[in-house]
Structure formats: C-alpha cells, structure tokens
C-alpha cells in the first residue's frame, strides 16, 4: 500500500564512535535515559514494555512507555510508543502506536545511525494538532538546558 509522506520520519546521522559504543548508548536503559531525558524503571527486553518519568525540566509530570520489539546487537533496536503523549490526564493505551527503529551500520569513521519513526497515518489528526499546540514554544528552551548538562558532563 502506498504510504503518504506524512506517515514516516527518517533521520541519518554519522557518529564518530564504534557500533559497540552506539549500541550501548541505545540498548542500556540508563545510558538511553541520559541522552534522551527519561529515567526508565527497567532494562530493555525484546517483547517487554518499560516505562519511566521524563526528566526534561518542565516535563517531569509525564511518564513514557516503550514496548520493545527487536534487539539485534549492534544492528537494530526497535520499539513502539505513543507519540504526542503529552497530557497526563489522557489514557493513550487505546490509541495506535508508532514504530521507532534504530539501525546501525559500521563505517570507516564510526557508525552510521538511521532512525525512523513510522505509523503516523493511524494517529487521529486532532491529537496531533493538540500535541503540537501543547509542545510548541517551551521545547526549544528545554533543549538548551539539556545541551548545557551534556557538555558539563563531557
């Protein structure tokens, strides 16, 4: 079936670090939490769901859930989650989830990481608009804080 351009996001990034190092930053729930900004309760296990509190300043009231699908060492890490799950009063469990995939490829200089998120076509449009309104502004300012933290702990 043809997918519209609104169904999928794909990002590619060259990392000057070995696939082993990148894999650890993705697959170790504590390391993942450090750069992503979430304090996860348990490790990533294929077929299991883990959850945790967002640690971004201003977003600490939110809990996020990740349903892990595949963990193929140094190659593929994938999970499903609820995008735009930004209102703590709303139960998102009945809504469709998007699929996030991290694919690693060894390169001369380190690792090529390809990240994709797909399945947006199934998400109710009204939810997208609402999430957009709730998120816009604020977010950029929060990012500045994270950046400052990361460079301090370098």
């Amino acid at each position: 079936m043809a997918k519209s351009s609104t169904d999928r996001i794909e990002k590619r990034i060259e990392l000057k670090a070995s696939p082993a190092r990148v894999w650890r930053a993705l697959s170790d729930h504590r390391e993942f939490g450090e750069w992503f900004g979430v304090k996860l309760e348990g490790p990533f296990v294929a077929g299991k769901t883990t959850r945790g509190k967002i640690t971004h300043p201003g977003y600490e009231h939110l809990t996020m859930e990740m349903a892990v699908e595949k963990m193929e060492s140094e190659r593929l890490f994938s999970f499903r989650w609820h995008p735009y799950a930004v209102d703590p009063k709303v139960d998102y469990s009945k809504e469709p989830m998007t699929l996030v995939e991290f694919r690693l490829e060894k390169t001369k200089g380190g690792t090529l990481l390809v990240v994709s998120e797909s399945g947006f076509d199934a998400i109710p449009a009204a939810r997208r608009d609402e999430a957009y309104r709730m998120n816009s502004g604020g977010w950029t300012a929060q990012m500045k804080n994270i950046e400052a933290y990361v460079s301090k702990t370098r």
Partner: protein
C-alpha cells in the same frame, strides 16, 4: 466532528493520494474529470472522495447541476506541520546522542 478523523489514514491509500495530487494544482474538478486516466470506477472515486471529505482534506462545491471538488490545503498543511515538529524533536535528540557517544 471531522477534526477527529485521521487525516493520515485518509491519505494512506494510493487512489486517494492520486486524487489529492490531481487536485493539488488548485483547480476544481468534477468526478468525471477525476476518474480520467484511473482504472477505478466512478462509484469507487465517489467513495474515496467521501473519505477525503470526511477527513476535511477535500470539499465539494456545487456549480449548477454539477458537483465539483477542490482541495482544502489548510488541513494538509496542519498534518505536515505536526510531522515537522516531531522531526525537529528527533534532530534534537540525535544531537544529544551524538555528543553523548562522541565524548
């Protein structure tokens, strides 16, 4: 009402995507015109147009006895904007991952 219809699901079909593309030039088209060059029946096109209308992507305008269809560009723009926003969040997260693994 129509705000809760998944716009994105409405676009997840090849024929509907083709219809949106045909209308994207900004012109108003009749069903007969829209069916031209497609291997699907007029009835099928009518059904697809109804889905697109339900999602607020297309609207019907009556001109005399004829019904014409045109694109509702605002709705498509909103969908794209929401995705751009998520896309930006990924860029930011990946920039943090980069400095995390390269330190």
């Amino acid at each position: 009402m129509r705000r809760s219809t998944p716009v994105f699901a409405a676009l997840g079909d090849e024929t509907r995507l083709t219809l949106v593309m045909k209308l994207s030039g900004g012109s108003r088209c009749s069903i007969a015109h829209l069916t031209e060059g497609l291997t699907v029946t007029r009835q099928a096109i009518t059904k697809h147009l109804r889905v697109l209308q339900g999602a607020g992507l297309v609207r019907g305008v009556r001109r005399g006895r004829e019904k014409l269809f045109e694109l509702e560009p605002k709705r498509l723009g909103e969908a794209q904007r929401a995705l751009d926003h998520i896309s930006k969040k990924w860029d930011e997260a990946l920039a943090r991952l980069k400095s995390f693994v390269e330190k």
